[in-house]
């Protein structure tokens, strides 16, 4: 695989972008930061599929496309099946020698939002992983169905207000905890699974490269702060991501072959989750005295999860 050097940002910046501007994602949207980084970290040909969601509707506004690679959209839920199908066809044609260029390296990548990954496209995703297609699935996790106006998904954390789990006098927002998609995908026995964040550009680029290089189905959950639904100023996308990773709301780690866990980022100063929550409008109501217990609950969950990750890393099982 022809990888771009990510030794430092200067070297990385010599990559020629294959994701073009004048897409219609909101100003400051993290989806495009993540997609740009994926496309810039390799020189290989890419076949990209995308589930319905903000990324898909905003980068294929007829008659325009923002993709400088082969790109395909079919439905909300089936980017994983589409990537798997394309990969199976590629393998078969390669064997028969009927490709235009039999030696050109090709990588298969599927993008999905959290709604299409955690919920509606989960069956398709799980199936493609069970069949073992050689592709990388990247979830752009903004913790809600952003493209349709911010409904709750199973990725929405407890306490966030969404259009279908609204905070008010009788509710603190979503009642249920976030689904642990990383553990679920690791349990498929996938060779490479990780959770990465755009503020830590180097670990993200390295994780992407690892996933692309690894044979078999790889899954990466990326934190994708959504200024519109999380309610923060677009200029703060990277600042919010910093708060997310430094409060350990989004720990950065990888799981190899379903069991070998490595923590990829240890904040020097872990900040209280309160600081992360306070920076976003979707958690504003939690700072009322009657909902204070939800913040305590979130902090407790985050501490326990971090403890668990560290133990698993140490145990190497």
């Amino acid at each position: 695989m022809a990888i771009t050097s990510v030794k430092n940002l200067k070297e990385f910046s010599t990559a020629n972008d294959r994701f073009e501007g004048a897409h219609t994602l909101c100003p400051g949207c993290a989806h495009s930061m993540i997609v740009r980084e994926l496309m810039n970290c390799t020189d290989d040909n890419l076949v990209v599929t995308t589930n319905t969601g903000c990324l898909e509707v905003s980068t294929a506004v007829y008659p325009f496309t923002s993709w400088d690679t082969s790109w395909m959209h079919i439905g909300f839920e089936n980017a994983a099946s589409a990537a798997g199908g394309a990969e199976a066809m590629y393998k078969a044609r390669k064997k028969k020698g009927t490709l235009k260029d039999n030696d050109a390296p090709v990588k298969f990548v599927a993008f999905g939002g959290d709604g299409s990954t955690f919920d509606i496209g989960f069956q398709w995703l799980s199936g493609a992983f069970e069949r073992g297609h050689d592709f990388t699935y990247i979830c752009l996790d903004n913790e809600n169905y952003a493209n349709t106006g911010g409904q709750r998904s199973s990725a929405t954390p407890i306490g966030a207000t969404t259009s279908t789990a609204q905070a008010g006098t009788h509710s603190y927002g979503k009642k249920e905890k976030k689904k642990d998609i990383v553990a679920i995908m690791a349990a498929h026995g996938a060779p490479y699974v990780a959770q990465l964040a755009p503020n830590k550009w180097k670990s993200m680029a390295k994780g992407f490269q690892k996933a692309l290089e690894t044979e078999g189905p790889c899954f990466i959950n990326t934190v994708s702060p959504c200024c519109t639904e999380w309610r923060f100023d677009p200029k703060d996308t990277i600042n919010i991501t910093d708060l997310a990773t430094d409060s350990l709301m989004f720990p950065i780690y990888e799981i190899i072959d379903g069991h070998e866990l490595n923590i990829l980022y240890r904040p020097k100063n872990v900040i209280p989750v309160e600081e992360y929550l306070a920076a976003q409008g979707r958690y504003k109501h939690l700072f009322k005295p009657e909902y204070r217990h939800v913040i305590d609950q979130i902090q407790k969950d985050v501490d326990e999860y971090w403890e668990m990750l560290q133990r698993r890393e140490e145990a190497r099982v």
Binding site: L9, K10, E11, F12, S13, T14, N16, D17, R18, F19, E20, G21, A22, H23, T24, L25, P27, G28, C29, A30, H31, S32, M33, R36, E37, D43, N45, T59, A60, V61, Y62, P63, F64, T65, S66, W67, D68, D101, A104, P198, W201, D233, P234, K235, D236, T237, I238, N239
Partner: protein
């Protein structure tokens, strides 16, 4: 220095995003539409800089979202240390970086989100927001001095 005639391809930003009135409507195209991103052979795209590529009229590179902006980032090359923070985090592929050097902003695709200003580490910043209608020279003449560290 701000007025970068970056030998960018002539067709950058030629379309309004609402364009396509002369193209087929959604109910006229065959189900499953294919938009070629480039004219001719596209196999070597990854090794070509944007200004060396043959974009087709379907590529959003030829469209502009400049009208989304109310404020614009202005670049001051005299303070820049070429760290490339702005390049890696710009969500709109609007930082023009060539051979490890930050050269300027692609105002056809920049939406004015201000992320680049936030992540710029220099003191004073090498990127600052100004009103869209501000002349670049005027903006540069108003650049703040280095800020003293607060104790």
């Amino acid at each position: 220095m701000q007025d970068l005639k970056l030998c960018a391809q002539d067709n950058r930003g030629i379309h309004e995003l609402e364009a396509g009135k002369d193209l087929m409507g959604w109910d006229e195209v065959t189900q499953g539409s294919v938009l070629p991103s480039f004219e001719g052979d596209a196999s070597n795209i990854v090794h070509l800089k944007q200004e060396e590529r043959c974009y087709s009229d379907f590529n959003s590179y030829t469209a502009t979202v400049a009208s989304w902006r109310v404020k614009k980032p202005v670049f001051n090359i005299d303070v820049c240390i070429d760290c490339q923070n702005c390049w890696v985090w710009c969500p709109d592929t609007s930082i023009i970086s060539r051979d490890k050097q930050m050269l300027g902003i692609d105002y056809d695709h920049c939406k004015g989100c201000e992320v680049c200003v936030e992540v710029c580490p220099t003191n004073p910043k090498s990127l600052l927001m100004f009103a869209e209608q501000e002349e670049l020279e005027t903006a540069l003449s108003q650049w703040p001095e280095k800020k003293k560290k607060e104790k």
